[in-house]
């Protein structure tokens, strides 16, 4: 099977081919949160379509970056993947096994295989427990060793993530933000997982500390052969750590490609707009940058726009097509797929070039709508 066909297969709604290389295969996953009305007789009146038909696969040993603006469903997706939330529809295959509808009990051994690092190092550690307990708890839950063995393992883990093993008996408040995030990493690492889902692990940290954590995650991946799903809104960070990148917009995948392809030849206008919006820490280059300024805000996922969800903000919007027919993820070679009827022909592209001649909307009009 050629790479192209493979890309196409994983993106249509057919059951994807499971390749032994794939650690995680996600097929058409949906997560809706119902909005109800009434106290005794609750009636569902609408649903937040947080994740709506997302399919992708993650190969063993790679890092898949997921980017998107706040509210696009990144974190919901992460929680669905590790079954902290139950999906509304779709399938999640982990290591060749369908885990979508496993019971809590059946799921428990799987939790050794996939762990999570959370965004906020202040909220994700129990302030009343000692660090040794926090990191050792997963080992205890899974019955991995006696108390003495667990203690030894925890001290080893503290060392691995660059903390002093003697701090075993300290409480989380005695650590700084960066150190707490290291504790979070140690906890995720404790049970020797195959997959770690990192949900914005460095967003709350200062740049110098962020660099420490990013380097640590890379080193751990090399040492233990880990697979990461790395969620972030910072495109610089995602580029640095990922092998492949998936771009989400309003609950849908708009583009997937290998890192270098995505950052040098984005096909979806949203990816282009995101890339052009990143400030460049270089005065000469940065000042000549012409960001493609998207008008307005991300629409509500309760009542998303018809067809292509990006069409109300898209500079390449074509009336009667983009708002009527939903684009599939079309393959572009190099395992790149993008859901757009009018993909970008080249990159970089100025805001004026990006606007199609057929596009009915001028920026002034867009402001008024």
């Amino acid at each position: 099977m050629s790479t192209n066909e493979q890309a196409a297969a994983t993106t249509t709604n057919e059951r994807p081919e499971m390749s032994p290389d794939d650690l995680l295969v996600v097929n058409d996953v949906k997560k809706y949160f119902p909005i109800t009305r009434g106290i005794i007789f609750q009636k569902q009146i609408a649903a937040v379509q947080a994740v709506d038909g997302v399919s992708f696969n993650v190969k063993r040993g790679e890092t898949l970056g997921i980017v998107g603006e706040s509210g696009c469903g990144k974190s919901t997706l992460a929680r669905c993947l590790v079954r902290l939330l139950d999906v509304t529809d779709g399938e999640i295959h982990f290591d060749g096994r369908d885990i979508t509808r496993l019971s809590r009990l059946a799921m428990r051994p799987m939790r050794r295989e996939m762990t999570m690092i959370f965004q906020d190092p202040y909220a994700s550690l129990n302030p009343r427990k000692r660090v040794g307990f926090i990191i050792g708890e997963p080992l205890e839950v899974h019955g991995l060793g006696t108390a003495a063995e667990i203690k030894r393992r925890v001290q080893e883990l503290l060392e691995v993530v660059g903390l002093n093993p003697e701090h075993y008996n300290r409480f989380p408040h005695e650590f700084s933000g960066g150190q707490r995030q290291r504790i979070g990493v140690a906890r995720a690492l404790a049970v020797n997982p195959k997959l770690i889902v990192c949900d914005e692990p460095v967003s709350a940290l200062d740049v110098s500390v962020q660099a420490q954590i990013l380097n640590l995650l890379k080193d751990l991946q090399d040492d233990f052969g880990l697979t990461y799903i790395f969620i972030a809104h910072d495109l610089n960070v995602v580029r640095h750590i990922s092998d492949r990148v998936l771009v989400m917009y309003l609950g849908k995948v708009v583009e997937v490609a290998s890192r270098d392809v995505l950052y040098s030849e984005p096909k979806h206008p949203y990816t282009g707009a995101l890339l052009s919006a990143v400030p460049i820490p270089n005065p000469e280059k940065g000042r000549n940058r012409k960001p493609i300024v998207l008008e307005g805000d991300v629409p509500s996922p309760v009542n998303p726009p018809s067809a292509c969800r990006f069409h109300p903000r898209c500079p390449r919007f074509v009336e009667g097509h983009c708002d009527v027919e939903e684009p599939q993820l079309y393959p572009f070679g190099n395992e790149q797929v993008a859901a757009c009827h009018y993909p970008l022909e080249r990159w970089p592209m100025g805001p004026d070039e990006m606007r199609r001649r057929g596009s009915a909307r001028s920026p002034e009009q867009a402001l008024q709508t």
Binding site: E69, S176, V207, Q212, L274, I280, P281, N282, G286, V293
Partner: protein, 322 residues
């Protein structure tokens, strides 16, 4: 006693933008709050002077300060979610800002508020004027904050991390907006941020702060082309970049120090890879660099090492992809 800011000097000219960069807790925000006289009087000690058009703001009376705040100098705060009053409509809050400083009827003030909301690009401004803050998204609230800050045509706008809480696309909108408004109104801007990218693109002069001190001060191009302080190198090296491939980020080891008991000598010495004996005992002066009096730096290293290290950082961070 926490010495949150020590010996910081700078000046901003009309139409110019000064950027202050540094990590959290380095005293960026306190500097600005002090200038604005917003630190609680009861438990802060401010010395030195902040001259605004020849008048010292630090010793000015509360009444005189009130005349200046929101009128000649205004401020945009970091968090758009908490800096608007949730129980008043944004129209009311904007009108209040106008009427405090100008003798205008409510109708006139309302017209002015509407004008500003349109200027910052809020769609359907007429209908949104009577909406409450919770009805706006983060980016929209930040625009309202900017409208409020600009409503009296301030001569100086202090923006404390104006885009930190926002997504990149919204950040691009807000920065473009601030640039455009500066061109239109000719205000001076003081922008506080931890994002070197934002500084590179908006500021004319930059102040790098570390643990309550200024460690380097230079015009923006000079700073990015000839950084002279190890902390600035660390910041530049630890930044993952869109346009450059870096296998490994240069990390600054350790944590920023507590300001309750800052390290003796150079405050950066416990984290500095080039630390020497003298650094542990003597505080380096904020001295001129060879490039001229515009570029100040606070480091004991000899010039040769500095030039070599700066060149290394530049080579690493400027290398093109592929």
């Amino acid at each position: 006693m926490v010495r949150a800011v020590e010996g910081v000097s700078f000046s901003v000219e009309k139409g110019q933008t000064l950027g202050i960069v540094g990590e959290s807790g380095c005293g960026k925000s306190v500097t600005c709050l002090t200038v604005m006289g917003l630190n609680p009087k009861r438990n802060t000690i401010s010395t030195g002077e902040a001259l605004w058009k020849g008048k010292n703001l630090l010793t000015a009376r509360a009444r005189a300060l009130r005349e200046i705040r929101g009128n000649e100098i205004s401020m945009i705060f970091q968090d758009p979610m908490t800096s608007l009053n949730p129980v008043h409509s944004i129209g009311k809050q904007l009108i209040e800002a106008v009427q405090l400083h100008r003798d205008l009827s409510t109708r006139q003030a309302r017209a002015r508020a509407l004008e500003l909301l349109k200027a910052v690009g809020i769609p359907k401004a007429e209908t949104r004027l009577d909406d409450y803050p919770h009805q706006f998204s983060g980016g929209m609230r930040q625009r309202v904050m900017i409208a409020m800050a600009l409503i009296n045509d301030p001569d100086l706008l202090i923006a404390d991390e104006p885009t930190t809480a926002l997504d990149v696309t919204t950040q691009a909108q807000i920065l473009t907006l601030m640039k455009r408004l500066q061109e239109e109104f000719g205000s001076a801007i003081l922008i506080i941020t931890h994002d070197l990218g934002v500084v590179a693109e908006t500021a004319d002069d930059v102040l790098v702060m570390y643990a309550a001190n200024v460690v380097e001060q230079a015009p923006v191009e000079e700073l990015f082309n000839r950084p002279q302080h190890p902390y600035t190198w660390g910041l530049m090296g630890s930044l993952p970049r869109l346009e450059v491939d870096m296998e490994r980020l240069t990390q600054i080891p350790g944590q920023p120090p507590s300001l309750l008991r800052p390290p003796a000598g150079c405050r950066f010495h416990p984290r500095c890879p080039h630390v020497m004996e003298i650094c542990k005992t003597t505080v380096p002066e904020l001295a001129e660099s060879p490039s001229g009096p515009e570029h100040l730096q606070r480091c004991h290293l000899d010039q040769e090492t500095k030039d070599r290290e700066a060149a290394k950082i530049l080579e690493m961070t400027m290398a093109e992809t592929g």
